[in-house]
């Protein structure tokens, strides 16, 4: 997907294209299911500014309506994301609150191996909690968080969990006071990494599963690139 067509899709969402341009965009969407999905994801972004509709953002009745009206809209082409991603993510939300206690312990024992006893329930939330516990216990994961910021003027302030159940290492740059986070999260092994921009993320496949490392906050692009490079090198060296 090139940026030009994506920008036109964004403008179409706002009704800022002429009918001629609209027709051209529709033609392009017809040939590429990813563009149709991009339209849907921009709709989700827009709905995110409204509180109430998000509960239904994953409902899709478009194909049922097309069938009812006798239209075949787009080919049944498998696109890159898997349904299970949503399920795992939802379970991570549920798990997030339960895992905070684990994170607090980790703040004081970062270098130590932590044993977490999980209640053996075969539920999404339990599975997600176990995934995060595995991430914390994983030597690769701990090593990664420690070595990723080597050579960067940054001080670890603590660890936290996000709403997604990610582990966030919070850093501050003493000279500027700027803060940034290095996020590490276990993700579904069926997740297709090609859907994200590798320049902003590093994916790490370990014997504990697939992890995603990303950086956010007030940090310049050179330092961000260095951390990502460190993480990738560290992982590849220790593999």
């Amino acid at each position: 997907m090139n940026k030009a067509i994506k920008e036109r899709i964004s403008a179409l969402l706002d009704g800022e294209l002429s009918e001629f341009e609209t027709r051209r965009v529709i033609e392009e969407i017809k040939d590429d299911p990813h563009l149709k999905q991009y339209w849907s994801s921009l709709v989700a972004v827009r709905e995110g500014f409204k509180e109430e509709t998000l509960s239904f953002i994953k409902s899709d009745i478009s194909r049922d309506i097309a069938n009812e009206l006798g239209y075949k809209t787009y080919p049944e082409e498998k696109i890159s994301k898997d349904e299970s991603t949503w399920s795992i993510t939802k379970s991570s939300y549920v798990a997030a609150s339960g895992i905070i206690a684990v994170i607090v312990v980790l703040t004081f024992n970062m270098q130590n191996t932590i044993s977490v006893d999980m209640v053996a329930e075969d539920s999404f939330s339990t599975q997600a909690s176990q995934r995060i516990a595995q991430a914390i216990e994983s030597p690769e994961a701990i090593n990664l968080l420690n070595t990723a910021v080597q050579g960067i003027e940054a001080k670890l302030e603590g660890l936290d969990s996000s709403s997604l159940g990610m582990i966030q290492a919070n850093y501050v740059v003493p000279s500027s006071g700027h803060k940034f986070k290095v996020n590490l999260s276990p993700i579904s092994s069926s997740y297709d990494i090609s859907t994200n921009q590798p320049s902003k993320l590093v994916y790490l496949r370990t014997n504990k599963g697939l992890f995603l490392l990303s950086i956010s906050g007030n940090i310049d692009s050179k330092q961000k690139a260095k951390i990502l490079r460190n993480a990738a090198v560290s992982f590849n060296t220790n593999k």
Partner: protein
């Protein structure tokens, strides 16, 4: 019933180009309108019936009604206003029909069991609500992280409903710049939530599989 979604966007119907394409028989244009508004219509219907599955059915029926009469749409109101009214009427019709059925049931059955069979159906699950709240949290966090000029352009669009031209006048920049800033803002937020969203194509299949 609140009509908060009827907030007018600028002075024109932002969907008019897609509506015109649909009126000319281009179903793909209508399909984009469905994708754009289905969550809002389902949300609206759910307020009436408090049942997700029925709300989806009402939304589906509403879109079908709108499509079948789209040739008569003259643009006197915004497309969404029209769709909204159709959905409200469809939901009300459903409730009337349900009430009639219930009255018939009560007159036929004289025992004390007044359980409404429809009330047993599920509505939004706690997981859905939690997931939605967290999705919103990420969207707003990403929005807050945007560079100021991008955040301003996007907020004028999303919160104030201004056109690109109006935003350009306020920010003293060309329309092309406004368009680019809004796109870049959305792109950044979209990247943050992309992995949380199900494929719309798969989601459609998922629903049919359940039925």
């Amino acid at each position: 019933m609140q009509e908060s979604h009827l907030k007018k966007v600028s002075n024109k119907d932002e969907d008019i180009a897609l509506v015109h394409r649909a009126q000319k028989g281009d179903y793909r244009a209508f399909d984009l309108l469905i994708l754009k508004y289905q969550a809002r219509v389902i949300t609206l219907a759910n307020k009436f019936v408090n049942d997700k599955q029925i709300a989806e059915d009402i939304a589906q029926e509403s879109f079908i009604k709108v499509y079948k009469s789209i040739g008569s749409f003259r643009g006197e109101s915004a497309f969404f206003t029209w769709l909204y009214r159709v959905a409200v009427n469809t939901a009300k019709n459903y409730l009337s029909s349900k009430k009639r059925k219930k009255e018939m049931l009560v007159s036929d059955i004289t025992d004390s069991d007044t359980t409404d069979p429809l009330s047993a159906l599920t509505t939004e699950s706690p997981e859905d609500i939690l997931a939605a709240n967290n999705l919103r949290e990420i969207i707003l966090k990403s929005f807050g992280d945007l560079p100021e000029e991008i955040r301003t352009a996007l907020s004028l669009r999303e919160f104030e409903g201004l056109s690109y031209q109006e935003i350009g006048k306020i920010l003293d920049c060309p329309v092309g710049t406004v368009r680019s800033r809004i796109f870049r803002g959305r792109e950044q937020i979209q990247e943050a939530i992309d992995h949380l969203l199900p494929s719309s194509i798969h989601a459609g299949n998922e629903r049919r599989k359940k039925e």
